[in-house]
């Protein structure tokens, strides 16, 4: 992740510029911080979904550029969101153009190597497995039962189980989203647990 993406850099953003940008997002400091974080979260997700290997860096670059634009032309744009979307698309285009095929190949290889590494990283796996155990325990009995049933089987049995769960939980989309939310919480819990080294 520490690699430079190598495309055009934004002008340097000073702490004052950043403060002005937050002020522009909202005069309420707390609200501004929330908006900033939400904007950044969406940008990171956008770059991940575009298959970029440096989503965080690209999101920060986008935010920096938006802040500079806002500083230079404060009256031109009424919405930081709309501006950031446009800037994000430009940043992505630059990324696509300037990250060469060779670099993309290297990234692909590196993804594949990472997959290999993850298979072999037994210690990390065991730690995560321990975390998963405690995170599962942290779910309510109902959630735990749902997620186990949702993932317990394969093939035809899986289809039948999910059909039944959909009937019991108000439809297929509802149960899919519920399962997604539980998985997302488990993912967050595991990440936090591994980072804190709190394997029970």
């Amino acid at each position: 992740m520490g690699q430079e993406t190598g495309f055009r850099k934004a002008k340097t953003l000073t702490p004052e510029d950043f403060g002005k940008f937050l002020q522009w997002l909202s005069p309420d400091r707390e609200k501004a911080a929330k908006e900033y974080l939400q904007l950044r979260t969406n940008l990171v997700r956008y770059f991940i979904c575009k298959g970029c290997a440096h989503a965080d860096e690209l999101a920060d670059r986008t935010m920096d550029r938006v802040a500079i634009v806002m500083k230079n032309e404060p009256d031109k744009y009424s919405s930081a969101h709309a501006l950031s979307w446009g800037v994000a698309k430009n940043v992505y285009r630059e990324y696509s153009r300037q990250v060469t095929f060779a670099e993309l190949d290297a990234e692909t290889v590196s993804a594949s190597e990472s997959s290999q590494q993850m298979l072999q990283d037994t210690a990390s796996k065991e730690r995560k497995a321990g975390c998963l155990g405690s995170c599962l325990q942290g779910l309510s009995a109902h959630e735990r039962d749902l997620i186990v049933q949702y993932h317990r089987s394969q093939g035809r049995e899986k289809i039948e189980t999910r059909k039944r769960l959909a009937e019991e939980h108000g439809g297929a989309n509802k149960v899919r989203i519920t399962a997604y939310r539980i998985r997302a919480r488990l993912h967050e819990c595991i990440t936090a647990c591994v980072q804190q080294g709190q394997v029970n």
Binding site: Y46, S84, G86, V148
Partner: protein, 317 residues
């Protein structure tokens, strides 16, 4: 400059389209209208609209990959594009962990609420022991050893199970020597070898096509009601690739299980660099296996390399 913020009114495109988008295939497409769909889905992500719905589809792509049910071209896009961000690689790791654990939990419930510690013991006990006793497989051309581990896993049987497993593992290690010898001399890849009550060792026949054995009976694997999983070893004589995918399919070709990370034991593990190749070592849940014909398909980059067929004989009575 601003995007068309009309995603909420329009709704999310159908799932197959979103899948193609997430796999990076829509962007590369020259189909008319694909550019507009990409722009629209970009806007959805940037505005946070349909975030969960897109997340669900993203998770299901990962799930399909883990189960080996992605189409070959999707698998390629998954590995080359989808997995490029480290965040997605982490998602895959956690999904794999979760998938295994939850499938185990599901099995546990079916078999009477096991304690978690028992589950973990069960999953690690035979493999670690077997690895220590593994002998050279250089002579084995392509042999699959299918070991069904029977156990009731009841709490009061734990200690008995452990001691009997220790004994049976010793017998398995010895029997492998015998199997190797049999293969060398008779080339018999079909005869099942019964070891003891706890473990059944079946040597399967290698085939090019799953159905290329019409004139000979398939090796039989007896499965009882208490059997929760089968442990499989596949000895590969050569090691031309770094990774292999293993899939279990029924006679109709329907995929029942797949392993994207079968554990490898290469010669390097045994400090020997001969032509012995590698051994794929993995465990397959057996609750989906009804009586009938099944095939393991070993492939690399979606290209089938070799298949092994066997017949599950249900002995529930």
């Amino acid at each position: 400059m601003g995007p068309k913020n009309n995603s909420k009114e329009v709704g999310l495109p159908e799932e197959a389209v979103v899948r193609n988008y997430l796999l990076g295939r829509l962007e590369a497409s020259s189909e008319p209208g694909s550019r507009q769909i990409v722009d629209y889905l970009d806007d959805c992500l940037l505005s946070g609209n349909f975030s969960e719905q897109i997340g669900v589809i993203e998770d299901e792509i990962v799930e399909d990959y883990l189960e080996g049910t992605l189409r070959p071209q999707d698998t390629q896009a998954f590995e080359a594009h989808f997995l490029r961000p480290p965040e997605r690689q982490e998602k895959l790791r956690v999904a794999r962990l979760l998938d295994r654990r939850l499938k185990m939990e599901g099995q546990t419930k079916e078999h009477g609420n096991l304690e978690e510690s028992q589950i973990e013991e069960k999953s690690t006990l035979p493999s670690s022991h077997w690895r220590r006793h593994r002998r050279s497989y250089a002579e084995l051309a392509a042999v699959l050893l299918l070991c069904a581990v029977f156990a009731g896993y009841l709490a009061d049987l734990r200690s008995r199970f452990r001691s009997e497993m220790t004994e049976s593992n010793r017998q398995v290690a010895e029997s492998r020597q015998i199997s190797t010898s049999r293969l060398e001399t008779a080339g018999n890849l079909q005869q099942p070898v019964l070891l003891n009550h706890f473990q059944t060792q079946v040597i399967l026949r290698r085939g090019v096509e799953p159905a290329a054995h019409a004139d000979a009976p398939l090796p039989e694997l007896p499965l009882g009601a208490a059997t929760k999983s089968i442990q499989v070893e596949i000895s590969l004589p050569r090691l031309p690739f770094e990774t292999y995918d293993v899939r279990l399919q029924n006679k109709a070709g329907q995929s029942l299980w797949s392993g994207s990370e079968p554990r490898f034991l290469t010669d390097a593990d045994r400090n020997s660099k001969s032509s012995a190749g590698a051994i794929l070592f993995f465990e397959v849940p057996s609750h989906d296996l009804l009586e009938g014909e099944y095939t393991f398909v070993i492939s690399h980059a979606s290209n089938p390399l070799v298949t092994y067929s066997f017949y599950v004989k249900s002995s529930h009575d």
